[in-house]
Structure formats: C-alpha cells, structure tokens
Amino acid sequence: MRRRALRDEPPFFELNPRRTVRQGHLLPPLDVPDLDPAAVLPQSLLRAPVEDFPDLGEHEVVQHFHRLSQLNYAVDEGLYPLGSCTMKYNPRINERTARLAGFADLHPLQPDDQVQGALALMWELEQALKAVTGMAGVTLQPAAGAHGELTGILMIRKALEARGDARSIVLVPDSAHGTNPATASFAGYEAVEIPSAVDGTVDLAALAELMNERVAAVMLTVPNTLGVFEHRILEISELVHRRGGFLYLDGANLNAFVGRALVGRMGADAMHINLHKTFSTPHGGGGPGAGPVAVSEALLPHLPVPRVVREGDRFRMVWHDPNSVGAMRGYAGSFLILVRAMTYIRSLGAEGLRELSDVAVLYANLIRHRLRGAYHLKYDAPSLHEVVFDDSVQATRDVHNIDIAKRLLDYGFHPPTMSFPLIVHGALMIEPTESPSPEEVGAFCDAMLEIAREVERDPLLVKSAPHDTPVRRIDEVRAARALKVRWQPEQG
C-alpha cells in the first residue's frame, strides 16, 4: 500500500481526550436578543446534546477525515479490480453538472412548469437507456441494482396477476449474484437453483427440466459472473417464454457489451442497469445510488409511478396509474445521480460507449492471458470483461485467495473479488474496467506474477501479508463474531 498515513488515527470520539473547550471560529457578539430554544419550541423539536462530544476546531475535523481517507483505497488512486463491481473512474465533469444550481437546488414538489429542464434530462436518459438496451421502456426510480431487481420482479408479478396466472417459483443459476435469490424470496417467490454446465453457462437440459407453468421468471446475468456470455440466450428466452414465464436479466455486467449488443433482442423482459457500474456514478458509501430498469412491451403498463411523459415539447410527471406497481421510491429517485449518468453518456456518445466496452474486454483478456499458468483457470471458456482465476495452484503450498489478496495491498492495488462466484472454490475474480492505463494494467499483472513467485519461494511472506499497510491483517472472524458497530467509552 502506498504509505502516506504514517500515524495511527484515533476514532473521532477519542480526539481532544482531555475535553478542553475549543472553538474553530471567533464569532462577533450577538446583535439579537439571546433566546433559549426550549422557551419557544416544543420539546419534540429540540435536539438533545450528544453526550461526551469532543470540541474540535475546523482544521482538526478536516485533518481527521483527510487522514482517515488516506487509510483507504479509492478509484482515484488506481486500478480497483473488484470483479462484478465495475469500479471505473468517476469523471469530474459529472460532479460539475450535478452541482449546477438548476439541478442541485430543485425541490421535488416544484410544479412541472418550473422544472422542465430536469424532466427533459430524465426523459432523455430514459431514451438513452432504451437505445443501449433495445427495450421498450425504462423506470429511473430504483435506488440501486438489487432494488431494480425487486422492481423488475414485482412488475413481472403484476403482469402475471393481470392475466390471472399466479406462479410461485423463480429460477436462478448457481453462479448468480446473491441478490437474485434474495430478490425472488423478498417478492414472495421460491428461488430454485439452475446448475451450471461444464463451461460455466446455464445447463440448458437442466433448465428445460425445471421450467414449467409454476415458474414466474428466470433471472440470468449476461455475461455471467465468470464473464462468459450465455451463448444459448435465445434458446433460453424461447424456452422461458413458451412456458409463459418472463426472462429477467441482471445488468451488473452490462459493461461487457454496452454499445455492442441489445438485450431487447436477446428476449429480455426486464433488466436493471447499475448506473454506478456502467455509467460512472459514485459507488455508494451508503449514499444515493440508482438502478434503472428497462422493460419489454409486456411489462410496459406496469412501470412504477411517478414517471415522466413528453407532450409535444413539454414534459409532465404522471403520478397515478392503476396498472403500475406504484412508487418504488419517493419522487424522482436519486435525481442527481441521474444527472451524472446522463453527463457520462453525453460525454462519450454512442461511439465512446462502444469503445468503452471494447477496452474493458480487451484489458480483462490481457490480464487473463498474462496470468494464466501462474494462476489456475477453472472455466476456460472465452470471457469478456472479467476473468475468474482460483487459488488451487497456490493452495498446494497452503496459500489461499485471502493471502494473495492481502499481499496485493503491499503492491499498492486493491484486491480482486474473492470467493465469488460460489461455483469456483478459492475464486479471484478480476475486473479491470476500461479506466486504467495500459501501464497500470501491466503493473497489476507484474504484481500478481511476482506474488505467484513469492508463493513458491517464501509462502510465509504471502501468508503473513500485508506488511506495508497502516493496519496489518485484520481478524475478520473476531470482527464478525464480536460485532461492534458503535464507539463506546472504555469502562472504568
């Protein structure tokens, strides 16, 4: 890890340990009558003081959080190869447009005629996402990918109810993201697993056996979590539709083919789009996200409300529709995230979006080519934007994926996704995205190859990594078993 934070940083509540009175700014004397809030406001509106809150000057607060940020790794630092997460760089221009007063200072209840620009942006983003997916309609409402999944499955449930066809099962491959079975279960369905074929794609014969009139939907990730394209997708969608089911596609891996293939032509009925993956908006931190869902004609009537409609050159929000699944989120969703995604799409244009997926796939295959041999590839089928190695070569020397991941920190890289997908034991799932320079991708491969040599030469060096980080190997088991999520003063 690049060393910058050289001192331990105490938790916030342990700053100013003697609790001396401090003040960041000198304020002029009060020129209005001093008033006790309790004398004029009801008790329910009064804020209770936080017990034992340390007094700090502005610079101490800024320095504290700046130093904390230096203990972290970020997309602004370098390659962040977390497979399935598409940790691409977030261009600064996105932040600039999202801060334009005409977007940032709106109130969600402002009348439509005062927010025509914002409504136009939402409508245009819907058109762009329709073009990228080849689908009939889009909702921008969901707050994240998994929320988009739920929105899609609820629309499917609504469509089935509308034709008086209650169904009880959702089929999910064994390589799926955990959110897929969770979504099915949350929406009231039983999630049933489809086994993978030897090449890691869906076992078509097994699917044919499982597919019947009780199956509401099949949820597939394209390309799948091995980065392998479901090359029988048309047969799968035909099979699902023939038995009256719906095909839900998990759009987590859209970065592999944006601008190159249309899920609408693959027979998808719904697909969520993680704007924080493919369209460069920030990854959470618990903050607002957005997971729009694109739908086929069959689900069009059931899109959530409110939604934007265009009438001539004017735009209007529609709040009620009896066929809709209703509101999945308040008002316009995470509007400023939508502004960032639209900025990205407009900055790249159609040609740029195509180039993006080309480069993402090229980099993943470059890594695959350079690391194969040193690391084992369980599934050898050609892969797209990510590549899944495993630790079986290193495990013979009792070095496991966690050790390799920790050692990467010493080389200044964020580790890849580990132990996922579940069908690869000891998985190391690498997704470079299109963001890094060729030199950065090369340096990552060099580091991975050097670690493989270290495992041969000195396995203990890798097993005891990281050595150069501000915090050494963390006891994850103890952290999970004795979970403390809130700071509390030491007793005594």
């Binding site: 955990g178 580990m418 132990s419 996922f420 579940l422 994850e476 088991v477 999970a480 078993r481």
Partner: protein, 127 residues
C-alpha cells in the same frame, strides 16, 4: 478429511446419526473446511416440518453464506442452542458438539450415502 464410518451422508455434505427415535444432523468436516470459520448459525424453529432436501437454516462464514438441508423428512424437535454463542463449534467439532438440529423422523438409508460412498464423492469434488 475425517469421515466417520457410523454416520450417513448427503450429497450436499450434511451428516445424520440415529439417536433413539431421533436423527441428529450436522455438516461434515469437509463442509466446514470449505466454508471456513463459521461466524453465525441460523437455526430453524423447533416444530418446523421439513422434507428431505429442504433447507433447515444457514451457516455464515467470513467467506460465504451456505444453507444446510435436511437429510430426512420429519419435524425439528431440538436445535443446538450453544451455537448462538459458540458458532465455532461447527468448525472445531463438526461431528460432536457442533451438531445443528435433532429431527423426529426415520433415516431412509437408501436415500443417503454411507461413509465409503461419501469419500468417493469427496474424491470426485476435489478434481
């Protein structure tokens, strides 16, 4: 990997042992090894009825969350309360103190694997 001879096994790596008119259920040494250190065990409610192959609960490790399935049809009559405080028992003593549930039901031996067959399954899976 330890595979005691006196137990019956499932293809999904649970073991079953007859104790009077109850069947004691746990996960195998291999399963706990694959899962890694277990940090939380979600057990079913006493009284839950299950068919063979149906999910009884989940085991959460630092790496993954895995469900465990019932090897037999019957009703859950007792769960291992100690696992709430000591989930590590599943790792340390998978065939003993790390048992998961007791089920009132009969062992259908034809449906399950004996120790030899289970060892063969493990040999296949390690390829």
């Amino acid at each position: 990997m330890s595979v005691p001879n006196d137990l019956s096994y499932t293809r999904s790596h649970e073991w079953a042992r007859v104790e009077g008119d109850l069947v004691v259920v746990g996960i195998t040494h291999y399963a706990q090894d694959q899962l890694g250190e277990v940090v939380y065990v979600e057990l079913p409610e006493v009284g839950l009825g299950a068919n063979a192959g149906e999910e009884l609960g989940t085991l959460e490790s630092v790496k993954a969350v895995a469900e465990f399935l019932s090897p037999v049809a019957g009703e859950v009559v007792e769960v291992n309360e100690r696992l709430a405080e000591e989930p590590n028992l599943v790792n340390e003593d998978p065939y003993g103190d790390g048992w998961l549930v007791k089920i009132s039901g009969a062992l259908e031996e034809d449906e399950l694997l004996d120790a030899e067959a289970y060892k063969e399954l493990l040999a296949e899976e390690s390829h």
